[in-house]
Amino acid sequence: MHSSVETLVHVENVEKTFRRGSEEIHVLSEMNLEVPTGEFLALMGPSGSGKTTLLNLIGGLDRPTRGSVTIAGDRIDKLPDRQLAAWRARHVGLVFQFYNLLPVLSAERNVELPLLLTHLSKAERREHVKTALDVVGLSHRTRHFPRTLSGGEQQRVGIARAIVTDPTLLLCDEPTGDLDRRSGDEILGLLQALNREHGKTIVMVTHDPHASARATRTLYLDKGRFSAEKPE
């Protein structure tokens, strides 16, 4: 492929159109983006500008209408459904604004979920889960259920779940959007550490300038296109 060795994410001429009845909604147009390995990229922009949509395309959760998405040399937009699912399990960690934990599972079992898809034994899974919960500083809360945890703690569980498979790429959609300043800062510190100390490549969508300040680069999205400047 024509992406250089250091380019992990390569989005080329991507267009994304949703169809709502007879109406076509152009969400992304002429989208080009390169994210080098090891970058902590922040994506900002007004609501409805297409940030989540772009993140979904990079994470293989959705497919572009036109253009290509290449991650570490793989044309993921061309992968059949089954292979794409396997690719996600291996390469992508996802962190959401509302944590998206399963309420019926304890913290450790939530973190274990992505490992169910691997060939790891039960003991190995437990080991990985413990490591991930250690990294996010929640080793004392492993048996707790999501409803008994604070928002910040739930998001730590969410991050532990995202990193437990040691993915190539971490995608975070407004990870601090539902948290107060203090918890938000802790989460951002954690992401920053993952980026700096563990070399994780992170793409993070955020509305919060405090959050984007932690990133190594910030891009602004407006009406489905990148704009050079921060829009007013």
């Binding site: 979904n56 459904d81 396997a86």
Partner: protein, 386 residues
Amino acid sequence: MKYVSLVWSNLRRKRLRTGLTVLSIFIAFVLFGLLCTIKEAFTAGVTLAGADRLISRHKVSLIMTLPESYARRMARIPGVASAVHLTWFNGIYQDEPKNFFGSFPVSDPTAYFDLYPEFLLPTEQEEAWLKTRTGAVVGRSLADRFHWKIGDRVPLKSPIWPRAAEEAWEFDIVGIFDGANRATDTSGFYFRYDYFDEARANGKGQVGWFVVRADDPDRADEIARAVDAEFANSPYETKTEPEGAFAQGFVQQIGDIGAILMAILSAVFFTILLIAGNTMAQAVRERTMELGLLKALGFTNGLVLALVLAESCLIATAGGFAGLAVAWLATVGGSPIPSVLPVFFLPAKYVAMGAVLVFALGVVTGILPALEAMRLRIATALRRQG
């Protein structure tokens, strides 16, 4: 295997709803087991009839008698291997009308037990019977019902056949026969015709019906016609038919049990289908985000489909197998009304049918929600949040 606890956790989410659904399936399968047992009890005689046995009775009615001498004439008809006669005795034990059971004088003990190979009588007991004029042979379930043992002397009264000497009839139990399988009716009481005929006050020489053995089961119908032809235009004309048809006639007097039970069961299962189907539909709908998340994590569409199906099958098996087990336990103790339904058990074929129904219920109630879960688009499912 590692996904089982995930399915299990989901079932515990709405414990009351899961519990009520399991309970309703449980009740449906208890009902299924009991109704199948009852159906079997009513039709046991029909399905177990030997193909080579014909019943020959008075042409007008079963309650009218025939001359004893017919036995010899029947035996001479080509194709007839043997002919044994029985009479409805209607014996009552201890003057208690509810202590009622089938009791019959039999013309030829040896020939009779040859006719019914499903009655297992030890040889030495059969020999004892031939030696004991007042001897009686009873089935296992009847012996158990009244705690009779070999050597017991049992007095019976018959409203139809008073004894010439007026006191009760007395019988010595000389044998107890077992059934070759569980569907064999072992509630009968058999005694010797020579004793009976000599001691009865009236109707000497008159007997109830004949069991005729055809030497070729394939020619049974032809032989039945030959028997009836032999006695045509006599004062005692006969009606001869295969034993299965004879028993069928009995059952049809009660009504078509099978059809009634099928109607009840269909209604029950239709209701259960709606209840369990609704539970699964709700379970999937309220979990849209979670299912989307599993897919985002890399769970394939097929795996998500399987997880939802596993859930509905688990609900169905929990309730269904518990219900079948309880129905089986309830019938294993024997008949609650042995005088009416002597054969009373849940046959293995209905247990197997129940098991198939359990899985069918699980799949049918789960398949639509499972397909819905499978088709869910990740991006859309994850947006439905906050």
